[in-house]
């Protein structure tokens, strides 16, 4: 029984230690990465971070559809206008 509890406590210590260690390392790595990238390639940032997981995908597909739609609508309105003129 004590053996099992010891093992459990060991797992907890090691586990939380490793989780924190890894994520702290990741914080440093991410910060360095971001600084390096923004220093080397100071490009216009793509977009503000967005809430919904899929909003980027949706947005891009929406843009595609909208562009098509706008083209069609422009043409339709154009024709509509022409028709009116010829009436």
């Amino acid at each position: 029984m004590d053996g099992l509890l010891d093992e459990g406590l060991g797992l907890m210590a090691l586990g939380m230690g490793a989780v924190f260690l890894f994520l702290v390392v990741l914080i440093f790595a991410t910060t360095i990465m971001s600084r390096l990238i923004n220093h080397l390639f100071p490009d216009t940032p793509a977009v503000l971070p967005v809430a919904n997981n899929r909003s980027v995908a949706q947005a891009s597909s929406k843009v595609g559809v909208d562009a098509k739609m706008v083209a069609v609508i422009t043409a339709a309105i154009h024709q509509h206008r022409n028709n009116k003129n010829s009436n």
């Binding site: 060991g10 939380m16 490793a18 702290v24 990238i37 490009d43 940032p45 809430a51």
Partner: protein, 390 residues
């Protein structure tokens, strides 16, 4: 003829059905009800519920193994759930493919804009390990029969991440897989009920009203490089987490790199949907009466709830600590999102923030710890597999 009729009668559910199976069919029906009516993670709980019913139909043979003769010819084929379980879950393929799809659906932008929120994703994993101790104690006092491997697999429920829980359970405690998966998905669905009281108890109204400064924009390049950095760190520090985090980062890299959109789209849709259907049926196959109807399941369900609660509390407390030490204001509510349960926990944090102050939009700030919690629990899973396995 008469004997055939008798055989047929002996094949019916009426004749064969045992009480345990009847109860498990009831459990399946409850899961279906919760999925449809209460919208409890329906993508998983609906297939799991159906799978639970099918596997408990006596004589349907959904989980029976194929039989071969000496020459290797099949005498009788196996059941559908048998093939799904042993090909996709025992091997770990399905959870890994789902993790890839989840990676392809995840936006690390908010986390990259404020990397120190990763600490919240770390703190909330305390729920996992505290629960391990709980399970070990239940085992130690002879109340339930849990080994260290069982305890570890139960603890991972606190990771609030379905595929991770299934992956770990399939490796450390396949007998408990059904109960663990059901607990993990149920509590993820119950996050809006479980978390708020804890969050309110540990914070003052002033703390909940804290506004955080707007996140900086994150460049496309940062988003592309980040998953590669994670893979490399995993390779260096924690190889046992490499299958989970490697596939997760692979999915995310496909999403962000912009040159393989058709693969990313398939990983997020057709592939993850197909695998989700299969995973659900496979997990459901572990809801047999022998494996589910025992005192251990009660222990798992209770411990899972404890794990979520402790994880929520430690996330909030860590956020309070960071708020004191950091120069930037940090609303303690976002700490609760560190358990993951993406994106439900982040929405809960946002809701409580709005309650305290109608102008306080925390959603984007909570997404950082939220996705950090996915990484955190995958790291915890790696540690467990390495520690318990070796």
């Amino acid at each position: 003829m008469e004997s055939k009729l008798l055989n047929l009668y002996h094949d019916t559910g009426f004749y064969q059905l045992e009480l345990g199976q009847l109860v498990m069919i009831g459990v399946g029906l409850i899961l279906i009800y919760l999925a449809i009516k209460k919208k409890f993670e329906p993508l998983l709980l609906l297939p799991i519920g159906v799978g639970a019913i099918l596997v408990n139909i006596p004589g349907a043979g959904m989980m029976s193994a194929p039989v071969y003769d000496a020459a290797g010819h099949m005498i009788s084929p196996g059941g559908l759930q048998y093939y799904i379980y042993y090909a996709g879950i025992e091997t770990g393929l399905f959870p890994l493919l789902i993790f890839m799809g989840v990676g392809a659906m995840t936006d690390f932008g908010p986390m990259l804009a404020n990397p120190k929120t990763l600490l919240l994703g770390a703190a909330a994993q305390f729920g996992i390990f505290a629960t391990v101790i709980g399970a070990v104690l239940l085992g130690a006092f002879g109340i339930m029969d849990f080994t260290l491997a069982d305890a570890a697999a139960i603890g991972i429920i606190g990771g609030a991440d379905g595929p991770t829980a299934i992956f770990v359970a399939s490796r450390l405690a396949p007998d408990l897989l059904g109960a663990i998966a059901v607990a993990a998905y149920s509590y993820m669905a119950l996050v809006p009920l479980i978390q708020p009281p804890i969050m309110r108890a540990l914070t003052t109204k002033e703390e909940r009203s804290i506004k955080m400064e707007q996140l900086r924009p994150v460049s496309k390049t940062e988003k592309i490089v980040f998953p590669v950095v994670v893979i490399l760190l995993v390779a260096m520090f924690l190889p046992s987490a490499a299958p989970l985090l490697g596939m997760f980062c692979f999915g995310n890299l496909m999403r962000e790199c912009g040159v393989v959109d058709r693969l990313s789209e398939t990983a997020q849709n057709a592939l993850i949907n197909i695998v989700t259907i299969m995973l659900g049926l496979g997990v459901g196959s572990k809801l047999s009466s022998e494996e589910f109807l025992n005192i251990e399941t009660l222990g798992i369900l209770s411990l899972g709830l404890v794990a979520f609660s402790i994880g929520t509390a430690s996330g909030v407390l860590m956020a309070k600590l960071m708020n004191r030490l950091s120069k930037d204001a940090i609303n303690p509510l976002i700490g609760a999102a560190g358990v993951s349960a993406v994106p439900m926990a982040a929405r809960v944090a946002n809701k409580l923030g709005l309650e305290a102050n109608k102008q306080n939009f925390l959603l984007m700030h909570a997404m950082g710890p939220n996705v950090a919690g996915v990484i955190g629990s995958a790291v915890a899973a790696g540690i467990m597999l390495s520690y318990v396995g070796s």
